[in-house]
């Protein structure tokens, strides 16, 4: 790690469990709860925080949290980058520390979504009304069509989707904070209700509710605040480039481009000076089971097509060679969009600190990786070390 670059560490984490909660419990209240848990985990007070970043897609302006947590005058940035919100919020706070604005920052995300698939506004994504009115603007269609194209191109079978989902629910069973804690067989998953073929009900994550927060500290303060601080070795974010196949796209060029996940992952590994092969535990955006499959390759954790063998050998389970989404991921936790990326970071932090309980990776990992991907083609990745 170069001395010219200020190191940033995670010194506290807090999670309001994801799922379906009391209708009266607001998204912002879950964000406040997660914030207080993270502050307590770090052993600091809200008044000690010199910079805050918050993300929510549908549950209000995050900086309103100051009215609950305390009117300390803290600078507070709001982030709204779809499913990539958590990663972008984390990067923003880390950069504030590196820029010398503060030595202690809070990052929080929360959301409380209505049941069922998201209904997106065409104008929000630069489309005319026909695109949504005629039934083309539905995120799950994109997941299914990208999956089908990927499986077809790399000679993978639809059943691989069920293998990934079954692994997610086995992890959920081990995670007391998970929403879906019942293991399902691959056969049950394949035979469940078809949503958008090849995807069935249990291969797609559901919008849910929850909050997540982390406390970041400048590296030289971390050891005082935390017995085992986790270093944020690098964080990177990218938007899409020409030719990548993205959600809400009425057209694509015939030439294939690489997804923003490829760019963000390469950038973060280069900045951290760590190769994908060194990753010992990972969190990948698994909005659907297919997303986990192609994100394994897009982030460089495996070759295209190698996923079948990794899943067959159970290598992506907590006890495997490349544990992925050990808390059950989006599939077992659902996705409160603003909080989801921070849930990933929290799972990796707990793994690197040996605090992950029944889902703990048996050989203590020291290098972790997180990846979020969101509409309309953005990605943020982190490398975490302990």
């Amino acid at each position: 790690m170069s001395s010219a670059r200020t190191e940033v560490s995670i010194v506290g984490v807090g999670l309001h469990p994801f799922g379906r909660h009391d209708p009266a419990l607001t998204g912002m209240a879950m964000g406040a709860r997660a914030s207080r848990l993270a502050l307590a985990d770090a052993g600091v007070n809200w008044a000690d925080i010199g910079y805050a970043v918050g993300g929510s897609n549908v549950s209000g302006k995050p900086d309103t949290l100051v009215s609950v947590l305390g009117l300390t005058g803290v600078p507070f940035v709001n982030v709204r980058n779809g499913c990539a919100t958590g990663g972008v919020a984390l990067a923003t706070a880390a950069n504030a520390i590196r820029a010398g604005e503060t030595d202690l920052a809070l990052v929080v995300g929360f959301d409380k979504h209505a049941r069922g698939a998201f209904a997106a506004s065409p104008a929000d994504y630069g489309h005319a009304n026909w695109y949504a009115e005629t039934g083309l603007m539905i995120t799950t269609q994109f997941f299914a069509m990208k999956d089908r194209r990927y499986l077809h191109t790399h000679g993978l079978k639809d059943e691989l989707l069920a293998q990934v989902a079954a692994k997610a629910f086995r992890c959920g069973e081990l995670n007391p904070d998970a929403w879906r804690r019942t293991a399902l067989s691959e056969d049950e998953i394949m035979r469940s209700r078809v949503i958008n073929p090849p995807l069935t009900q249990y291969m797609i994550c559901s919008p849910s509710e929850g909050g997540a927060a982390v406390v970041l500290a400048r590296g030289d303060r971390a050891a005082d605040l935390c017995e085992r601080p986790v270093g944020l070795a690098a964080v990177a974010k990218r938007t899409r480039r020409f030719g990548s196949f993205e959600v809400f796209a009425p057209w694509l060029p015939p030439e294939t481009g690489q997804s923003p996940s490829v760019d963000a992952a390469r950038a973060v590994f280069t900045a951290a000076g760590i190769s994908p092969a060194e990753v010992q535990v990972a969190q990948l955006q698994d909005t659907d089971a297919g997303a986990e499959i192609y994100h394994m390759a897009e982030t460089g954790l495996c070759e295209d097509g190698a996923q079948q063998q990794l899943l067959d050998l159970n290598e992506t389970a907590p006890a495997g060679r490349l544990p992925i989404n050990t808390d059950g991921g989006c599939l077992a936790n659902g996705e409160p969009v603003g909080a989801s990326g921070l849930r990933q970071v929290i799972d990796i932090v707990l793994q690197l600190q040996g605090r992950a309980g029944a889902r703990q990776v048996p050989r203590q990992p020291h290098i972790g990786f997180t990846h979020v991907y969101g509409a309309p083609g953005i990605s943020a990745c982190t490398v975490l070390t302990a």
Partner: protein
């Protein structure tokens, strides 16, 4: 009765149906629908172009559940429908698909047609574009 396009900007012609795109004068990139700037080279000199009415299926799915608004449910009620991307040579276009999904297959020839959506304020059918299997020469 004459059909009305759900958005006139999508078509160069309704009968026969032909789609309207744009081509970048600088790098040749073709877009659908028409757009004012080029996503590839960032140029702003875009020329109107009529897209091919035949192509091959690039990927597909079926919309099995009724989407929320702003999707407009047909007057006859919701029934599952096909959705896909069709490779037209210069551009790959997202589209509603007509026909039995059992016949959808990546690489299969597809041809452009019209899909009636709902009845317009003047009583004429409002249509969008769609592709269906067929069109082998």
């Amino acid at each position: 009765m004459t059909a009305t396009a759900v958005d006139p900007a999508l078509f160069t012609s309704i009968d026969p149906p032909r789609l309207a795109g744009s081509r970048c004068a600088n790098c040749g990139t073709v877009t659908f629908p028409v757009q004012a700037g080029c996503a590839k080279c960032t140029g702003t000199d875009m020329e109107p172009v009529e897209l091919a009415d035949r192509g091959t299926l690039w990927t597909w799915t079926v919309q099995a559940f009724e989407p929320k608004a702003p999707y407009r449910v047909p007057e006859t009620g919701f029934t599952p429908y096909g959705v896909g991307y069709v490779h037209l040579g210069d551009v790959i276009v997202e589209s509603r698909l007509l026909g039995d999904p059992a016949g959808f297959e990546i690489g299969k020839p597809m041809e452009l047609t019209l899909l009636p959506l709902w009845t317009g304020a003047d009583g004429s059918p409002v249509v969008t574009y769609a592709f269906q299997p067929g069109g082998e020469d």
